[in-house]
Symmetry: C2
Subunit: 342 residues, 2 copies
């Protein structure tokens, strides 16, 4: 019997107040225990970093329970089975897991999905063919429902969700306006991804640029950021506009009780009434029964070259906290992934 490996893991050291900092995380090491019957030992290859993880650091009521203080940070992973006491898996299998920010994990196999590296690069299981891609698909199919000729707006448009939203909406025949931070990302979504218009939200005249880019108003706003993008979008919404809400990255670091400025809620409620708006929060899990459709459809779009993606890969689990803090400020360019093992 070989010696037990030593696992590296990143735990939540303390809850952030407002913007998270490096000290909210702590790196720990621990020798992996023996496997019980039916278990497998996973060696993490890639860890996905996503904005929702900010929510797990708080203890506020949410759709998911928070990470405990001292607990391993949550996250989707692509892993290699390195040992198996489970007949369904053998050493060398590549699986999608949700084993979090750690180099090794033990699973009973119930939460694993085998990946076939022949079909698509395995990292896509964390992005375009994974949770972010399915978030885009489910939000459009069930809530946004873009029709041919309608105008769809999405922010964080070079990111994992936004890039999929925009490309899928183009496939459905919508006119797509993407919002991104900086000229490089704007060039990418327009030239590589084929968005109709790209707007830099750092521009001082950003609201005016958005209005000019939407001469017929906005029919679908896929909300994943909030903040000043919402403020620019709101007056442009058309009657019967649909607003799937899958994220609010601009607000994740705000104190939850009181916000400054005048109260915008009455004006928003009045617009909801006068324009027959739909605002609908969701997480992709709610639509889990549509995942087979998604895998088939998105797989076909990727192979046809109609659904492209960009990955921003950071090396080393120890760099995950810094990369995550950058993600919350829009510093990544493409789907942010940590390469945990070579």
């Amino acid at each position: 019997m070989t010696g037990q490996p030593v696992a590296t893991r990143i735990v939540l050291a303390s809850r952030p107040s407002g913007k998270p900092v490096a000290a909210n995380f702590r790196l720990e090491r621990e020798t992996v225990r023996d496997l019980a019957e039916g278990e497998v030992l996973l060696e993490t290859l890639y860890l996905s970093l996503d904005p929702y993880m900010r929510g797990r650091m708080d203890d506020a009521k949410s759709y998911a329970k928070p990470v405990d203080i001292g607990g391993v940070m949550e996250g989707g992973t692509v892993a290699r089975v390195s040992r198996s006491s489970n007949a369904a898996f053998k050493a060398g299998d590549i699986v999608l897991s949700h084993s979090g920010w750690q180099s090794h994990a033990i699973s009973d196999g119930g939460d694993l999905r085998k990946l076939d590296p022949q079909i698509a690069p395995i990292t896509t299981a964390l992005g375009t063919l994974g949770m972010p891609g399915f978030t885009a698909y489910a939000g459009l199919r069930n809530i946004g429902k873009p029709k041919a000729g309608e105008t769809l707006v999405v922010a964080a448009a070079s990111g994992a969700v936004g890039s999929a939203v925009g490309q899928m909406a183009k496939i459905y025949g919508a006119r797509v306006v993407g919002i991104a931070g900086g000229p490089e990302k704007c060039d990418y979504i327009r030239q590589a991804l084929g968005f109709d218009v790209a707007i830099d939200h750092y521009a001082s005249d950003f609201p005016a640029q958005l209005a000019a880019a939407c001469p017929k108003g906005i029919d679908v706003y896929f909300e994943n950021v909030g903040g000043h993008v919402w403020s620019a979008v709101f007056p442009l919404l058309n009657d019967f506009a649909r607003i799937p809400v899958c994220g609010l990255i601009a607000h994740y670091n705000e104190a939850s009780s009181v916000s400054s400025g005048h109260d915008r809620l009455p004006a928003v409620m009045r617009a909801i009434l006068r324009k027959s708006l739909t605002i609908r929060g969701f997480i992709q899990r709610e639509f889990a029964e549509q995942r087979p459709d998604f895998y088939q459809q998105a797989g076909a779009w990727i192979s046809e070259g109609r659904l492209k993606y960009k990955e921003d890969v950071v090396d080393g689990l120890e760099n995950a906290p810094e990369a995550f803090l950058g993600l919350l400020e829009g510093k990544n360019f493409g789907k942010l992934i940590v390469r945990v093992a070579p």
Copy 2:
């Protein structure tokens, strides 16, 4: 040929700033012109007064165009055909029209629906079997979707829409909490309409009473008032709660630009995300193809005694402005109707 009748009508004299006053209306008289081929002369029997009319007095962008200054106030009516040059109608026919705040009107017949006084009292075409009842039906069927055992909350619960919402939700198996103004209305919705709980929103501990009445939270909030009722409902909303928005009577008199207090919008957006809420504005017209289902279903419920209604009838068109101003302050008790002709 008999002499032409003189029509009495109430026009919009000026737009209100904030709360409307009597001086915003003006009563006029005018001799009715001769009928052209294909037209009918209508004599108004009953005029419906509804909160949405407040919106028509403003010139803000809305789903419907505003009443012009000097124009007849808009409104649903039940009328008698007094002369007809249209083969489809004969003198004496009773019709549902939308001829507004006036004693006589000329129609080409295209907007009329014949009523059969044998089936139900003709005033129900303005209430439970009319626009308010269909608003309740369409909002529940398409957006609220109450399931057996869920908790539904509705305000203005003794009113035309609220009373129908609550009784229909009971038929669908939900637990129904009604909010109304004052003990008389509360007694009525609990005892006559069979709501599970009635709460007086004038009570100083109204939010605490509401929380106590909803130990399992709120699954459907049928929004027709806004204001402090929304504030009490908001923290009690369950995951996946649905909020059809058909009215905001508490806000109709507010200046549209700026509201006081801290900004509640970020907290509401966060709740939409964390709780997967649906907020959906609507007007019943959007679901017009469901009206035949509604007439059949609601007619059956009325005849079975499962859908009751109460009318608050005011005599004389000249009293319509005062009655309407009272409606905006919740002074009516039941569906407010003006008897225009005996």
